[in-house]
Symmetry: C2
Subunit: 406 residues, 2 copies
Amino acid sequence: MIEPRILKGFRDFHPEQAIARQYVISKIRNTFESFGFDPIETPAIEYLETFQGNIGEDEKLFYKFEDYGGREVALRYDQTVPTCRFVAQYQGTLTMPWKRYQIQNVWRADKPQKGRYREFTQCDLDIFGLETAAADAEAIATCLAFYDSMGFKDYTVKISDRALYAGIDYPVIAAIDKLDKIGVQGVVEEIVSKGYAKKEAERIINKIFNLKPNDTIKQIFSYLHAMGFPKETYVFDNTMARSFSYSTGPIWEVNIAKYTVGSVLGGERYDKLVGRFSKKDIPGTGYGLGFDRTVEAAVQFGLVPAVKTVAQVLMTIFEPSMLADSLALAQELRKTGLNVDTYTDPEAKLKKQLGYGDKKGIPLAIILGPEEKKAGITVIKNLRTGTQESIPATKAAERLKQLLAG
Amino acid sequence: MIEPRILKGFRDFHPEQAIARQYVISKIRNTFESFGFDPIETPAIEYLETFQGNIGEDEKLFYKFEDYGGREVALRYDQTVPTCRFVAQYQGTLTMPWKRYQIQNVWRADKPQKGRYREFTQCDLDIFGLETAAADAEAIATCLAFYDSMGFKDYTVKISDRALYAGIDYPVIAAIDKLDKIGVQGVVEEIVSKGYAKKEAERIINKIFNLKPNDTIKQIFSYLHAMGFPKETYVFDNTMARSFSYSTGPIWEVNIAKYTVGSVLGGERYDKLVGRFSKKDIPGTGYGLGFDRTVEAAVQFGLVPAVKTVAQVLMTIFEPSMLADSLALAQELRKTGLNVDTYTDPEAKLKKQLGYGDKKGIPLAIILGPEEKKAGITVIKNLRTGTQESIPATKAAERLKQLLAG
């Protein structure tokens, strides 16, 4: 016997969780598409060189191996890099500005901890081909529209601009990005550990604390205002730096006040990344939405439907002689849009079937015995309360929908 | 510069393709959920031993490697085996009979050819905990319901039963399964190559040609009939064997008459597979829907919407002074459910914006100049025909929806 187990940092999703995830994905797709962004998909496995040299200090987290053809390959580490590869590869055929979204899993051999897994879902949205603040603003607008559509409260997009940190080396920026986690002293120590004098480290941090929004950030704010997003949902944050080495302009993160694991979304402008794969630089701006954290937060605040099953109605088989009639009625109800489960053992006692429906979390059951058939009726039983009612068979679908809506 | 390219056997999906795939996935989800099946997800990477010893001769196709912790791991090869691992692992908490579906990618280091890729999407549906023909019939019913809901014509589910081949060794069954591809002589030769005398090989094949439906198959047929599926959509096929070593009962495949790449779905009962991970055997029945082939067939027969973009309306920026009004109108329209794109460069000329919308495939554009604003109207332009009309701003959403529906 093989022990049934999964690898650390990986997860099985049970129906209740998978239903919640699917619900959030639908909301994300709806928002992204409402702004005219189109879906694409890229492979889970790519040439290792595609990912190398883009990410900064995190390349040790690649899942990489040699394939049967002796090629060095890696699992998708993020979606920004493959998309830049995509833009470079097909640039002649893409309509610019090119707006796409991508919802796929990525893999990182990171140390597992709360809210951090080795396999997780990313939802990326990006605009290629424009260097305008309007493009940055639109990308940010889709973040705000999504968190609003989910019903989140007290979420904020913190916005800054890499241009403000001009003249500061990347390792120092990476240290500053940890301010929330390690505090001012921690950042100073980390900068010192990179070979800077303590005084210099403090000078840099002081400079950053005194940064003010530049024109680009002001323009982004004015667009967000025009689109009607509440003022308290977007702020300038002079201490936010984003740890990616490829950021070249505006940067942003979304935080939800009472979700303490960390930011749920991070984005930036990156005007030099496509150029790694192409003679021609094509500017890009966009973000990766931390899907797993967003679902975790949504569950925490009760923003996803708490159902154990998609099934809405259990069609019981009253006795084997009623099998054909019951299967036929189940099919009829499905055609009206209802999710109808049947207990697929015609020999099972009615009580056992109803017990199954109740345990699975199905709200309603239908009973169709020979008497009911003769009278042209069916019985609807509420599996939560135990109450039941008779209804003409022809009205069953309508009544079930009423009960489900109530 | 890194050459932008992908690995052989892997695919990028452009918006047009990704939209078609998404459409088919929605149809599959709707069908599966209409029968009360719940979604689950399992990891892309599992312990190698989870997959070993289940699949038969194809284990050489595993994508396997050693992870950073020195563990032998493999990418998901199919979804049946991980689900059996799942059922064994959580059996105490699952409501039996347990009905689940799973839509995820799998990886096989197979020789790429038309309709066969190294990464592809599988849509699995299974019922655990029942040995009844009713369970097999319900699984098969979901196949028929799905291909019907897509609008396919001339599809057939071919049904047989491994019990009919009792006494025939697995390597011979695997050879018989290739009958469609290599013909009778090919099958005879393959059986002979497994160490059988030619006469014995011919005797086995003759026996198979004379098989008749058993009681289980007849029962399945009666259930499908009761559910109202047309008789011509399900047939007994005495030469179909399925190549998986774990099949233990009814087996089935779906073929679409004019799609010649191969079967688009394969399923079977497998009552001994959960037992590999558990002291207790739990019977299972279900199938993997070949998603990529199904999409290919759907595109071939024009059964997916042929759109280049999800965007329905281009909100133009008539001139920079109209930016705020235009962005506000775009947001309003989005809130009515329309997918509204904007050209996120307020300096771009109107002609350029309209050219973008047309090239991207957006059907309609809205123009809002200072004159229109004063008069309380907007102009709707059909980007395909070039015709345009003025409409009160308050009626814009309604009129756009009319035009899109027409």
